[in-house]
Amino acid sequence: MRPFSLQFLVDVFPILLPFLSATLAVVVGTIFFGSIAGGLLAWAKAGSYKLLERLAQAYTYIIRCTPPIVLLFIVFYGLPKFCLEVLDTNINDYDKLFFVIISFTFLFAAPVSEVMRSAYEAIDHGQYEAAVSIGLSPWQAFFHIVLPQATVVALPNFGNSVISLMKDGSLAYTIGFIDLIGKGQLIVSMNYGAYAMETYLALALIYLILTIGMEKLFLWIEQRFSRHKQAA
């Protein structure tokens, strides 16, 4: 067996790193759309309309039981077919990024809606009552008083969801999307399978930095916004 080449490990980083932007594009895009979708689902679950509440709960349950890769394949193969036959538009040539972000938005919205819902429910209803009792409208009470407090409660769990998303996002290469892992696979196959360990190790290190960095970032944000909780 060929010995481990530290040199290759060092050399492969600059080849991989440009593709970090692809990986991050997926994460950022999904966080943006997924949070909006998750917010809508959380609102539905808050129970203004029973039917919407049940639908939102069913959606969350189904996504929770679905392997990310299966969801990715269903969107990648199913959406073009749906668009072609039902909407009469051909999306087969769209950038793979499009399909990746859509699949992971579907995926991310479910846990995020749970994070938002439970954070909202954790805030004492009395805060809302106090706000409306001095003349704020229901919307003002939610926006100025409940939402800021709920956001702080949600942060750690939201951070965990983002980290999970980052890891699930690595599956995008299976539909041919060239992100970090995609490039890594290309490198491995270009070397006919040699230097696989070095390449994967490099990828692992990059991911470790990303996930640990994310964890620290969310911890810092949470502390900054929790100043009001420290007793004298």
């Binding site: 001095i134 100025h144 100043r227 420290q230």
Partner: protein, 253 residues
Amino acid sequence: MDKMLKVKNIYKKYKQEEVLKGVDITVEKGDVVVVLGPSGSGKTTLLRCMNFLERADQGEMEFDTISIDMHKVSSKEIGKIRQKTAFVFQNYNLFQNKTALENVTTGLIVGRGIVKTKAVEIGMKALEKVGLADRASFYPSQLSGGQQQRVGIARAIAVEPDVILFDEPTSALDPELVGEVLAVIKQLAKEGKTMVIVTHEMKFAADVATNVVFMADGKIVEEGPPKEIFLRPKEERTKTFLRRILPQEEYNI
């Protein structure tokens, strides 16, 4: 004395249980109406219905010139009433993420669109009145229960309501802290503020009230000036309640 607020015929049910069975209350300007009664008599529910934190099943409200059906009330009408009233809660409900001063000014800045500098001026005056001007930049988590409740009262008076509603303002406080809050309320009464107070503090009620309302089982049993209710109660139910609550010696007003 002009009539300010009148509610009639309030009925409210929780699940199958009737909590309010036809209650009428009239509040005139400058009145301090104290509502007494055993637990479960519906006094807190009554108060919360007046501010629409609960929706009555039936009832009519006349506030100054506004007439409202308390069951079919619209959000706009609720908003109007809430602009004229303020509520002080048993567990204070201070905005946890805001300082004492911000707690007081939020209603002014966000709810009424008052400019920040003016709001801060009004807010500081209110905090001074309750004796907490030096704690303006403290967060609720840094204040004692009594201090938090006083900030709650400052928050209520800053919006200059026509009526202030107090829901057992001292029930959640340690005994040593009750006095400071009652002192503030007494001061407000002296200044002629119109208030409706639900409380268990009998001596305080006797001191401060212009009108005492005794409730039990969702109905008003008896009402009248404090002298009448405490010294010469007419109804048996009132007598039983007072006997249990008040010390045995003759009460001097």
